[in-house]
Symmetry: C2
Subunit: 235 residues, 2 copies
DNA sequence: GTCTGGCAGCTGGTCTGACCAACAGGCAAG
DNA sequence: CTTGCCTGTTGGTCAGACCAGCTGCCAGAC
């Protein structure tokens, strides 16, 4: 006889599973409201506490969203999913992974290199946001905090221009821990002005390469730019 | 007067937030057990139902894990995060249509390209695992399932050879959602034998390039290999 | 001595029933 | 037509209870 191990799945998990499948399969349209907790209690034949635990799980995964507290949950739309918990998953991953800064920088180079390559391949690239941030940076002289913020927006705009949501997601997650170190490096500079000027020029050059649809050149420039940024931190 | 909107955060969310921060900050080491629900009830001064809702959220995010049902929760390890919620995030993204498969393939190219590049730069590369998998694939004729499994191990070995933990973690998450489509493509083949042969040769060529410390060539070969794999799926 | 059985005290899983605050709608008095 | 109240619904929270499964201890049987 070969017996098979007994499986015990908690009720809240089964409830969550069914709801999850209903959402992902599209039988509950994005944006529509979920049934009230008391209704679900009847539908599944479990107590409200059980239903609530299932809902908390769905909420944490970003498949269900509460616009305001105390308002009924809605099925998440695609865009909301990537903006919220999906990004958190990678933020948590990188924080718990405790990867050294050099690894994160390497990862960032790979992501952004691929992003600008993809952006350059597009027939019509939307780079308005990126260009706008370059202008912002041109207007900054020695305010490293403001510069760093513009820098974040610039690089995210680059990745957004690629139109690749997966790249964008991971980029969002990796940008944060790495940005902290950048800011520290900039702050440690005696005279930040020439450095900020140089970085701004590099940004402009990257945009130029993408506009010229030269993906290889753009990728090279991005990689050089990023590695240069963290050279000091990495020693 | 400029008033600021009143913020109301549910108790379960605040409990989850505190626990999450404790986990991510490392004050609860990975693998260690969380306090029992009744202890947390006392610590936070809330009812057990509230604590449980917070725990369900952490569990859904993958930060807390129950080995068996009815066993106390433990703090997750990084690898478990990439295998769990981060992977699910991609799966949900795909199913909800927030990102096409081609985006994930593109991401995978970027990650693996960077990985083999980094591996080639190392003075002494450890490619034994990758080579072993190539041998396994050489021994397979038409068993696509076994081939796919060896393929997974091969590509993970490549990324592991780069020594970059961040790349590895993200790769773990993206590999499976993408692998499902690969398997479907292979199954759809009338005669898989010549295809598997070709893929095996490509794998061997990639290993060769890394051993020759030619990162550029290795990256090119990896990218071509991966894109070729999914050409059918992408149409 | 070792092994067995059973008890006691944990844990998580679930339920019941209750109360409150916030919101939406209807309805009546101004 | 507005104001204001009343009511029913929703989510948020609580207290208390019970069960099932696990763990460790200890006494009795061999």
């Amino acid at each position: 006889m070969d017996f098979t191990e007994v499986v015990r799945r908690p009720a809240y998990e089964q409830v969550a599973e069914q709801l999850r499948e209903a959402i992902l399969s599209g039988s509950m349209p994005a944006g529509s409201e979920l049934p009230s907790e008391r209704e679900l209690t009847d539908s599944f034949g479990v107590a409200r506490t059980t239903v609530r635990e299932a809902l908390r799980a769905l909420q944490a995964q970003g498949l269900a969203i509460a616009d305001r507290p105390t308002s009924p949950l809605r099925v998440a739309r695609a865009a909301e999913l990537s903006a919220g918990p999906a990004r958190d998953a990678f933020v948590h991953l990188l924080r718990l992974g405790a990867a050294p800064l050099s690894d994160l920088v390497e990862l960032r180079c790979a992501l952004e290199g691929a992003a600008v390559g993809a952006a350059a391949r597009q027939r019509r690239v939307v780079l308005d946001d990126a260009r706008a941030e370059v202008e912002v940076m041109r207007g900054i002289t020695d305010d490293v905090e403001a510069f760093e913020e513009a820098d974040v927006r610039f690089h995210l705009a680059l990745v957004a221009a690629s139109g690749n949501e997966a790249l964008h997601l991971v980029m969002l997650a990796v940008r944060e821990p790495v940005g902290v170190h950048l800011l520290a490096s900039l702050r440690a500079l005696g005279d930040p002005v020439p450095v900020l000027r140089r970085l701004t020029r590099e940004h402009a050059k990257i945009v130029e390469a993408i506009e010229a649809h030269d993906g290889t050149l753009a990728a090279e420039r991005v990689a050089a730019h990023i590695r240069g940024l963290y050279k000091r931190s990495l020693g």
